[in-house]
Symmetry: C2
Subunit: 209 residues, 2 copies
């Protein structure tokens, strides 16, 4: 992993027409949320859980400083959870929010988590979504988004969060999706700062530079 010229890089030949994208959680996450006996009732508890995922992703050196999960709002049941796996999965799509959404959808067999008959679901993310993950939210069917750190906190350690609509929270609300910001923001930001101190990879695209 890592880019050319960085020790540890592995350039693989193009496997033509492999035909599938596989995005796999690290071993330490397997089975984690099925073992939660006690539902996480409050947004504070849910945020603590996803910040914990982000921190463990650094401790295990399995990816970037981001964690997310999709919860049923009422029951607190976890439908899917993820961490940032861009480097490990050789795929820039593998942000924590995308993992949580995709896993929740494939686990339930429903591409629309807001489809008729589905209990209302929410995305809880340790850092405000980047432009890609923000764009993914309306398609996903979640009814609420809970954010820890701000996008500017991610930018402060070097990430390019992309071009978002100026009033992105309002754009979601217009689609019937509520947004709550700054839940345990300092705790979430501390994980970003820990990553910076570790010298973790900032996986913005190089554009040939």
């Amino acid at each position: 992993m890592g880019i050319r010229g960085i020790p540890g890089e592995r350039i693989r030949p193009v496997r033509m027409a492999s035909g599938e994208i596989v995005l796999r959680l690290p071993e330490w996450m397997r089975g984690m949320w099925s073992d939660l006996d006690v539902p996480l009732d409050t947004v504070e508890e849910r945020m603590r859980f996803v910040i914990g995922l982000a921190r463990k992703n650094l401790d295990h050196k399995t990816g970037g400083p981001f964690g997310a999960a999709v919860f049923e709002i009422e029951s607190g049941r976890i439908l899917g959870a993820g961490v940032n796996l861009v480097e490990a999965s050789h795929c820039s799509i593998a942000h924590a929010e995308m993992m949580a959404i995709g896993l929740a959808q494939q686990a339930t067999g429903r591409y629309d988590l807001g489809g008729h008959g589905m209990p209302a679901a929410e995305l809880v993310t340790s850092t405000e979504p980047c432009a890609m993950c923000l764009g993914a939210i309306p398609w996903s069917g979640v009814r609420r988004v809970i954010c820890g750190a701000r996008g500017e906190d991610a930018c402060a350690i070097g990430f390019d969060e992309g071009a978002k609509p100026v009033d992105w929270t309002e754009a979601l609300r217009q689609r019937g999706i509520d947004v709550v910001l700054d839940v345990r923001r300092e705790e979430a930001r501390a994980v970003l700062q820990q990553y910076e101190r570790m010298g973790g990879a900032i996986y913005n695209a190089g554009q040939g530079r």
Copy 2:
């Protein structure tokens, strides 16, 4: 597939902690682009190829009316290609552009297609990217985006393309990514209209409605 109440629906139980997202191309696409003997030299030819993918996706009833591919700009070599597979893969992430980007990255083993030493790559898409795919582009490392139909053409048949920055082409150019619009637009739009006539699923999230 399909939503509750629609024949053919399959509700699957939540498989806790399955641990991976798998997004698989339909059988008819396997090996397709490794069989291309003649490189596609021009953007017109490349667009014809991805519009063909979109059309075949309707003919085979494997998904929505969108096709995309990542090409090496100079050589015309295809690194990855995709079609819309939201319904078949039970995953709202599985847009044509995301499939093409993810497959190109996992095939080359590089999460940044613009990383040092990589030949410049471009995304060719039969319809202008939605907000999610637009947000995915800067992370992917492609240096150019070629679009067929406009977002408004997708909206005209019922899709919600999401909230994009007002001047999204300029936002990409500021990141060093060139954009070309309206390549074979009418041909691309014809596939959208064919999908509408077929009564194809409009997989916007229901938000409980």
